[in-house]
């Protein structure tokens, strides 16, 4: 039996269980991924041997904790090819990273009459923070449109990104449409007009090699829990010159250089942004998750998922009454498959699939403007990772047909 890329399935004990009397097929990886034993053990190991606060205290445990925490920063920098560890800030999540960029950097560079450009396929976390900046600064928020296939319309981007644009903020990969956006091209376009570009990497960093230097993005955000690490740890990458300009979003211990009675000076990058005791075990676990992904090789992860999509997407499209959102061409589609079955509400479908042991998401995927754009209330979404297999895809396809028949026939 197929055991996932490099037999990785055996590293994820959670996958080996029955749900509603059926073997679990976990296809909700765009929401959060499962964690391998190596990551779980890294957390246990840290608390059993090294637990102490970082950057303070001269004792041995504090030294070990600091060393591991900072080593994770180096791993992140290398993983996304950041030019320097000073550009890597640990946050709580992609959402927190984007909020900090919007509140601290956005409010610094956007003023009245300026324009902020996002796209129709953004997650709420890359929409609402920019709405707040636009409202506060009396700026305008503009949306790049999509092609008929659900890809970002580069022609629309060329029309909307002008000398009035100060910020371009775009998902690197969509959590609904399963497309990868041309960030490098958009960065060039933004920079030609003197604008800054921010990429939301939550759905890209877990699934493909990331090179922020080659993309030439000004900021990049990602979440640990979507790439094998626990919840509560995220990353904000920024170009050093911009991070130096940007005021801290939070103040307190850890981030200060010296505090007087009336004012304070701040530490240098990256610590200037990390106020208070950080998520030390989370950062260390993220470092271990990155080791795990590097052992697999991100090129191999990308290729494996591409093969799974090539296997699954045509079979899904072949089911009568199924509509898949995003490009029908598997070469243009990531492992995120959003779809609807005609006449069946996605919640009813998801409950049916759950009875067959198959975990999918149903709802608006924190992308209500996109749902409005697509003129649907909600969709179902199956999202794959490297530990999923062709057998998982077969069970998924078969279960959709069975649930469809159940509702078509009424009571069986």
């Amino acid at each position: 039996m197929d055991k996932g890329l490099n037999n990785s399935r055996q590293d994820f004990p959670i996958l080996n269980q029955q749900v509603n009397g059926e073997p679990l097929v976990y296809l909700d990886n765009a929401a959060t991924t499962q964690k391998p034993l190596a990551v779980l053990n890294a957390i246990m190991d840290y608390y059993q041997h090294d637990n102490a606060n970082v950057h303070r205290g001269v004792h041995t445990l504090a030294e070990r904790a600091t060393e591991s925490y900072e080593a994770s920063r180096d791993k992140v920098a290398e993983f996304i090819n950041a030019p320097s560890r000073r550009s890597i800030i640990f946050t709580r999540s992609t959402t927190e990273s984007l909020n900090w960029i919007a509140a601290s950097f956005g409010n610094l560079v956007v003023s009245e009459g300026d324009e902020i450009v996002i796209s129709e396929l953004e997650h709420h976390s890359n929409i609402v923070p920019w709405q707040q900046v636009a409202q506060k600064q009396h700026a305008t928020l503009k949306y790049i449109g999509l092609t008929a296939d659900g890809e970002l319309d580069i022609q629309s981007a060329r029309e909307l990104i002008t000398d009035r644009t100060k910020i371009v903020a775009i998902a690197h990969a969509s959590n609904v449409m399963g497309v990868v956006n041309p960030i490098k091209e958009l960065a060039k376009l933004a920079h030609q007009h003197g604008a800054y570009i921010i990429a939301d990497g939550a759905q890209a960093a877990p699934h493909m090699p990331i090179d922020v230097s080659d993309l030439d993005v000004d900021f990049y955000a990602l979440s640990g829990h979507k790439m094998l690490a626990p919840t509560g740890i995220g990353v904000l990458y920024g170009k050093e010159a911009l991070l130096n300009m940007m005021p801290p979003a939070q103040f307190g211990g850890e981030m200060i250089d010296f505090v007087h009675h009336q004012d304070a000076s701040f530490k240098e990058l990256p610590w200037k942004f990390e106020a208070g005791t950080p998520n030390i075990s989370g950062a260390i676990a993220l470092g271990r998750a990155i080791d795990y992904l590097n052992e697999l090789g991100m090129d191999n992860v990308l290729a494996y998922e591409k093969d799974l999509v090539k296997y699954t997407l045509p079979r899904l499209l072949a089911i009568d009454g199924v509509r898949v959102y995003g490009p029908p061409d598997p070469d243009k589609h990531t492992g995120v498959l959003s779809f609807n079955v005609w006449g069946l509400h996605p919640h009813d479908l998801a409950t049916g699939l759950d009875m067959e042991g198959i975990a999918v998401r149903a709802g608006h995927h924190c992308a209500q403007p996109l749902m409005e754009y697509l003129n649907v209330e909600a969709t179902a979404r199956a999202s794959f990772y490297f530990y999923n297999t062709q057998q998982d895809a077969d069970r998924f396809i078969h279960a959709i047909t069975a649930v469809k028949e159940f509702f078509a026939d009424g009571i069986s």
Binding site: H347, G363, V403
Partner: protein, 151 residues
């Protein structure tokens, strides 16, 4: 187990009410109206109620959602039509207990009629919100009405 368990949730009367909902539409002469959304899925339900002499003379619902939310709304209109406001609120409370797995009196169960069949949703925790949406809306309308009458 598989799909057999679906029969417990999607009973014939539930499928029938979702496909052909009762009292679907707007009520122009309504004395109280409310729209509620389920923020986790985007479902929307509008409930309209006409109260006369402290009794529900008419009520209707509209909106979009899954089988459970539509059927539950339809069965609610059947259960609450012509009920006194205070009795209707008791039945909303009984329904709320039923769908969270608590027991209710046989009098309340009889009064709920087919709506009591939605009670099996208690075994599908992720779907309880779908079943509750319309009932929350009507309860809020009736609560406002009650306040008015006390003035």
């Amino acid at each position: 187990m598989g799909l057999a368990k679906l029969n417990e949730l999607y009973k014939e009367v539930i499928l029938e009410n979702a496909q052909h909902p009762k009292h679907y539409g707007d009520l122009p002469q309504a004395t109280g109206k409310l729209q509620l959304r389920n923020p986790t899925c985007g479902d929307v339900i509008n409930v309209s109620v006409l109260i006369d002499h402290d009794q529900i003379e008419d009520l209707s619902f509209s909106g979009s959602g899954c089988t459970i939310s539509q059927a539950s709304a339809s069965l609610m209109t059947m259960a609450l039509l012509h009920q006194p406001v205070s009795r209707a609120r008791e039945l909303v409370m009984a329904f709320s207990h039923l769908i969270t797995g608590e027991s209710i009196t046989s009098t309340d169960e009889d009064a709920l009629g087919d709506a009591a069949l939605v009670g099996s949703v208690a075994e599908f925790p992720a779907r309880i919100k779908c079943a509750a949406l319309a009932w929350h809306a009507v309860d809020e309308i009736l609560g406002q009405k009650g306040a008015d009458f006390n003035d």
